[in-house]
C-alpha cells in the first residue's frame, strides 16, 4: 500500500474542514472554570469601556452583561470569562430596550410557576417514521 501524501490529501482535508465550520460556529465560551476571571474583573473591564452595567450573569459559559454603553445606548455583551474579550455585542435603540425590559419582567414573573396545562394524552398514536428538513 502506498503511504498517504499530505500534498495529495491536504487540500481535500482543508476544504472539508472549511465546509464544517459554519455548522460549528457558535458564540458559546468553553473556558474551564478554574481559568475564569472574577466578576470584579468583568466590572472593571466594563468600567474601562465606559459601560454602565445593569445586569451581569453567566450564559452559555460566558459572562453576559446588559446595560448602557458610553453613548447611552442599551447593549448586551457576551464576554469570554478567561480573556474578558467581547465575544458578541448587540446594541439596541430605546424602543427595543423598553420592549425587552417588559419582556424580561414578564419572563421573571413566569419563572418557577408550575406547568398547569400538562400535555394531554395522544388521541392518535404517532405513525412510525421520522422527519427531514433543509434550510434554503
Amino acid at each position: 500500500m502506498k503511504p498517504l501524501r499530505s500534498t495529495t490529501y491536504g487540500p481535500l482535508v482543508l476544504s472539508m474542514s472549511l465546509l464544517a465550520l459554519p455548522a460549528m460556529a457558535d458564540d458559546d465560551c468553553d473556558a474551564p472554570t478554574r481559568q475564569w476571571q472574577p466578576r470584579e474583573a468583568v466590572m472593571q473591564m466594563a468600567a474601562q469601556q465606559g459601560w454602565q452595567v445593569q445586569r451581569l450573569k453567566i450564559d452559555d459559559g460566558c459572562y453576559e452583561l446588559r446595560g448602557r454603553d458610553a453613548q447611552g445606548r442599551a447593549f448586551k455583551a457576551k464576554i469570554d470569562p478567561r480573556t474578558l474579550s467581547v465575544v458578541k455585542l448587540k446594541q439596541r435603540d430605546h424602543d427595543d430596550d423598553d420592549d425587552r425590559a417588559s419582556r424580561e419582567r414578564r419572563r421573571d414573573r413566569n419563572q418557577g410557576q408550575p406547568q398547569r396545562n400538562a400535555a394531554p394524552a395522544e388521541t392518535t398514536p404517532p405513525p412510525a417514521g421520522g422527519s427531514r428538513a433543509t434550510i434554503e
Binding site: K90, D99, A119, P127, A128, G129, R132, I135
Partner: protein
Amino acid sequence: MSQPLKPLMTTLATALAVALPAVAQARPVTMSIPLKNYGGDGAYLAVYVTDAKGAYVRTLWVAGGKAKYYKHLADWNRLSAGDSKRLQGVTGASVGAGRTLKVTADLADALIDAGYEIRIDAAAEDMRDSPSEVRAPLNAANAGKAHTGKQYIQSLTYQLP
C-alpha cells in the same frame, strides 16, 4: 418449487399482505416555511400537530438546538411536555431571517381531513415570542395554500402527495 420452501413462501406472502397496508397508511407531507426579513437572529421554530380539540399529537420538526430556549416556543413546550420523545430525530439548526425551512414528515392518513392542525411556534433572541404563529388545518382542501404568519413566518404551505 421444492416442497420445503412452500411454507416459507406462504409465511412471507402473509407477512407482506399484513405489512403493506400499514406502510401505505402514511404519506410524506412536505412543508415550506419561508421566514420574513424580521431583522434579528435566527428563529427557533417548532412545527407540530394538534387534534381537533387542540391536544398535542406529534412534533414534526424543531429548528434550534439549545434546549434552554425551548420555553420560548411556549405553546409547543407546554403541550408536548409529557412527550419524552418529542425531540427524537426532529431537531436541526435555527432558521435565519429571510431563509426558508423545508420539512418532510411521514403523516398517517388518519390525520388528514380529520380536524387535525399543523401549528408552528416561533421565537428569536431578544424579540417577542410568537406561540402558535401559524395554524393550518390539515386537510386536502388546504394543501398547496399559503397560511400566513403573524411575526416571523411569511407563510406555511404544505403539499400532500
